[in-house]
């Protein structure tokens, strides 16, 4: 009974991926037919040689990497303060950090567009990176704040009395201890940036073309096989990253968590 339930959940979760794969490798598939008539991989091959796709893939990866790195650098100290200290106004800070996740991207995008036009950031990759920080930072901060709530500063105290100076403390003790949390937080930021559509469109002003933008324009015109193939290409890198992180966390994380 329980086993069937679990299998059912797996199936439900994997269904969309399967559907895409069906579409991507099929030639013609129209409504009443239960299965497509013919199969081939031409949609895939065509896409992989398309320079626009390659450029969009590069832009997406660059953007995701930059957002993930920048949000970690900015979010780390904020999360440490939120997680380890208790101070008045935590509630207010919590509330404020939540705001960007609620504001409709459309509205944020518009407001930022006006601002960025004045700062000459509209249409630049830097502008898009900054815009993506809006939705990414809160998740990074919440994830890391959770890690720091269980963080024991005595590890650092121990290291300092053993003769380690402040400068090396971060790299030799603090970072290794919170690494699993940092990776998960970075992953969150990457994923949020990766699937961002509206903000990229509004701030990028057509200069910055990422995969989601390409996907959208394809949807407006292309055939189902191309859309599905493109979707699979779009989904592949994050799926890979998540799977690797999950693996690593299972191996490493357990050993580290035992100590807490």
């Amino acid at each position: 009974m329980k086993r069937f339930l679990r299998l059912g959940i797996y199936a439900l979760l994997l269904a969309p991926l399967g559907l895409f794969a069906l579409y991507a490798f099929s030639q013609r598939w129209f409504f009443p037919a239960p299965f497509p008539r013919a199969w081939d991989a031409s949609a895939f091959l065509r896409l992989l040689h398309n320079p626009r796709l390659r450029s969009a893939l590069g832009q997406s990866l660059l953007l995701g990497g930059a957002v993930s790195l920048l949000s970690l650098v900015l979010g780390f100290p904020a999360a440490r303060a939120l997680g380890t200290r208790t101070f008045r106004g935590r509630e207010v800070v919590w509330f404020l950090f939540f705001l960007p996740t609620v504001l409709p991207p459309l509205a944020i995008g518009m407001g930022l567009n006006v601002l960025f036009l004045r700062l000459n950031l509209a249409g630049t990759l830097l502008g898009v990176v900054l815009a993506h920080l809006g939705p990414a930072l809160p998740y990074v901060i919440f994830t890391l704040a959770g890690v720091f709530r269980r963080y024991d500063p005595n590890f650092e105290h121990q290291a300092r009395t053993l003769g380690l100076g402040e400068a090396r403390l971060f790299w030799r003790v603090t970072l290794p201890l919170v690494l699993p949390g940092v990776l998960v937080a970075g992953l969150f930021a990457f994923l949020i940036s990766w699937s961002q559509y509206l903000l990229t469109l509004l701030i990028g002003s057509g200069q910055v073309i990422t995969l989601p933008l390409l996907l959208f324009s394809t949807v407006s015109g292309g055939n189902p096989a191309t859309i599905a193939a493109l979707s699979l290409i779009f989904v592949a890198p994050p799926v890979l990253v998540i799977a690797l992180t999950a693996r690593w966390l299972d191996d490493q994380g357990a050993a580290i968590q035992e100590q807490f």
Partner: protein, 343 residues
């Protein structure tokens, strides 16, 4: 090896003087125990010595020169906590090498030192193991090795054994004591456990209300605590107030003989629970009481006796028969075991 001196040390938290102008000397090559109830600021003192907290007043001197200006990493005072705090991302050997690598010593020297320390703590051949694969007691041994391998001028122990089982704790008390003696490192041990402080230390300082209430050898402090508060902490529950005159103390419950003939005026005398005897018939130096509870504790029998509104705890030899609650008894206080305490 140096002597540590605390001068008028003061620490204020939220307006409260947690440590209140405290003076203490920890002699060269000895273990000085700082004993106090939880919340008495024991750990704060260690953190101030290690440089992890800043005192609000007073001085910390090592062989005469103040430590206050130095950051923790340059004080050569290593802390050991209740938990081992072994770095989980390093192997056992790398953990022990941590302090040596922080000092950028040559690799070959580090390897040799790590091996020597593992021998010393009785865990040879475990260099490559993960800390999590060791038992709690073994982890504390490794933490001890990690602390001692840097040959610190001071070893600061913050309840290092209180998270361990009784058997392991007893074993490690001996092991730490042993290694400390061999290396001759001046050590401060902070604990709330009287037993542990007595078993491990050369000198014992009792910390009450932010000050040192008493400081002496474990035996002196246990047998003849100078004041009521100290006496309570070392397990005395029976205090007798009254007028002393000509070798007698006149208490509200009757008079008892005291060892000193010359004492006169209002005095408080105390007696350790293991020296109290219970009789069924009245007699000299025996005060009437009622048995409230009787607990068998193996090596001894604990009898709680109500005398007036006081409850007095007596420890009788384990071979005696338990007394029923409500029984009428006479609490005999042998004069040779009564000693005066400051109120």
């Amino acid at each position: 090896m140096p002597t540590l001196t605390l001068h008028a040390l003061t620490k204020i938290y939220a307006g409260r003087r947690v440590i209140d102008s405290l003076d203490l000397e920890a002699p060269d090559r000895q273990i000085t125990a700082l004993l106090g109830p939880s919340g008495s600021g024991k750990s704060t003192i260690l953190k101030m010595i290690a440089g992890l907290e800043t005192p609000d007043g007073g001085d910390i001197r090592l062989d005469g020169s103040s430590l206050l200006g130095l950051p923790p990493q340059r004080r050569s005072a290593v802390l050991m906590f209740q938990k081992a705090y072994l770095f989980p991302f390093l192997s056992v050997g790398e953990n022990i090498a941590f302090g040596l690598r922080a000092r950028r010593l040559p690799k070959a020297h580090i390897r040799a030192e790590v091996r020597r320390m593992l021998e010393l703590i009785g865990l040879p051949g475990t260099e490559k193991r993960r800390p999590a694969s060791l038992s709690g007691g073994e982890q504390q041994r490794v933490a001890l090795a990690r602390a001692l391998v840097v040959q610190p001028r001071l070893l600061l122990l913050d309840e290092p054994l209180s998270s361990l089982d009784t058997a392991v704790r007893r074993e490690l008390q001996v092991a730490i004591r042993d290694v400390q003696r061999r290396m001759g490192i001046t050590t401060i041990l902070v604990t709330h456990d009287l037993d542990e402080a007595m078993a491990m230390s050369d000198r014992m300082a009792l910390l009450l209300k932010g000050r040192v209430a008493a400081c002496a050898s474990p035996k002196e402090l246990f047998q003849r605590p100078p004041c009521v508060e100290t006496a309570r902490f070392v397990g005395v529950t029976a205090f007798w107030e009254g007028e002393a005159a000509e070798g007698w103390l006149r208490t509200p419950f009757g008079r008892v003989r005291i060892p000193d003939e010359a004492v006169r005026g209002p005095r408080v005398y105390a007696i350790r629970p293991e020296h109290i005897r219970l009789r069924t018939a009245p007699g000299e130096s025996a005060l009437p009481g009622v048995v409230r509870a009787c607990l068998y504790r193996g090596a001894y029998l604990e009898v709680q006796v109500g005398v007036g509104e006081k409850t007095v705890r007596a420890q009788l030899p384990g071979s005696e028969d338990p007394l029923p609650a409500g029984a009428q008894v006479y609490v005999h206080l042998p004069p040779e075991h009564l000693f005066p305490v400051a109120a």
